[in-house]
């Protein structure tokens, strides 16, 4: 009787623990070999055959196609530099340096990876179209309402994700220091 009860208890706990851990790691996008610069995180290995089992399971579940290593590298940000969530009802600014790359793009998505509806049909910028000041610096304002300059509309959604993609770049698996890959700073400017 005790054996039966014990094994039922064990199996139940094992199932909850095992499936819970799987669900947690796949929804949070846990993967090894990440490269973090400020609020930005990239997984260069996920774009190669060295992709780890967690990233493999995660992309199979979401239906994504990772950026290939010979193509470029994608940095994801879910929070600003202080760690506050990207709330589409707040205003954030992105400014600073970008690592060496032939082209870069920045895109705003909802957490499921879809583009967000807005009045001016803008979902991101490329390195060619962004408006810079006379010394080549740029600043992007991510806000629900129209702003002067580089305005990236959030559509007022609850949570958004920013993806910064560098194409034809030396940034990759061998990159270790933030000096090699200076990523733009993200700051919250109020809600």
């Amino acid at each position: 009787m005790r054996l039966l009860f014990g094994s039922c208890f064990t199996f139940l706990i094992a199932a909850v623990l095992g499936l819970g851990a799987t669900w947690f790691t796949l929804t949070r996008g846990v993967a090894f070999g990440s490269l973090s610069v400020g609020a930005w995180t990239a997984w260069p290995k996920s774009g190669s055959v060295d992709i780890d089992p967690y990233a493999r399971a995660s992309i199979a579940r979401s239906g994504e196609l990772p950026t290939g290593m010979g193509d470029g590298v994608a940095f994801y940000a879910h929070t600003d530099d202080q760690g506050s969530n990207f709330d589409g009802r707040c205003t954030f600014t992105i400014s600073g340096m970008t690592p060496a790359a032939r082209y870069w793009t920045v895109t705003l998505y909802d957490p499921q990876g879809r583009l967000v509806a807005n009045t001016i049909d803008r979902h991101g910028f490329t390195s060619d179209e962004i408006v810079r000041d006379s010394d080549g610096h740029f600043s992007i304002t991510v806000a629900p309402l129209a702003r002067a300059g580089n305005w990236l509309p959030t559509g007022g959604i609850e949570l958004f994700v920013l993806v910064w993609r560098l194409y034809d770049t030396p940034i990759g698996v061998a990159t270790r220091t933030t000096k090699e890959g200076p990523m733009p700073a993200i700051a919250r400017k109020g809600c």
Partner: protein, 183 residues
């Protein structure tokens, strides 16, 4: 007390096994991976341009909207594949994925180094059958080995400004992908 602790230890170990096996089984079990999403939209061994992602609707999540994209869903069981893609003015890249969305090879226009990207895709068995002298004479012929018989080729052309999207789409329109006739 000891007995309860032993049961808990067994539960944790078993839980770990359940966790690892479900993670490893996920790519086989996934019904909504990129390849499955493209099956109803694309023919086999032909290049098709994907419609641009619109708000609230993405064929593949997290696609870069600054790019025009074309996909060739391949099946090498009837022979090797040839991909020819003219290079657009800005930036063009080709990425090869296995049936399970693993990006096993990617090349951009500059690395390809010519006016057009020209690639032969074959299984390791088909590559072994390529006559050796032919391999040498065509030194600039790029041969890629696919780890899986089926998979996806994504061809991407950048539109640096939204107004240049027709140019990027035009560059992709000149690309072809198809099974090579047996020599």
């Amino acid at each position: 007390m000891i007995r309860v602790l032993l049961w808990i230890l067994a539960a944790v170990l078993l839980g770990g096994i359940v966790h690892l096996s479900t993670v490893l089984a996920m790519p086989q079990a996934a019904k909504q991976d990129a390849y499955s999403r493209l099956v109803p939209l694309t023919p086999v061994n032909a290049l098709v341009q994907l419609t641009a992602p619109t708000t609230g609707n993405a064929i593949i999540p997290f696609m870069d909207p600054a790019f025009a994209q074309a996909v060739c869903r391949y099946d090498l069981s009837s022979g090797s594949l040839k991909l020819i893609a003219p290079v657009s003015q800005a930036y063009t890249s080709v990425t090869f994925y296995t049936r399970k969305s693993v990006a096993y090879y990617a090349i951009n226009d500059r690395a390809a180094g010519r006016r057009k990207i020209e690639l032969d895709l074959m299984t390791p068995e088909q590559h072994a059958e390529v006559p050796e002298e032919e391999d040498v004479t065509a030194a600039d012929r790029l041969i890629i080995e696919s780890p899986s018989t089926m998979g996806l080729i994504m061809l991407r052309a950048l539109a640096p400004e939204p107004g240049l999207m027709p140019m990027a789409r035009g560059a992709l329109a000149g690309a072809t992908c198809g099974i090579q006739p047996v020599q």
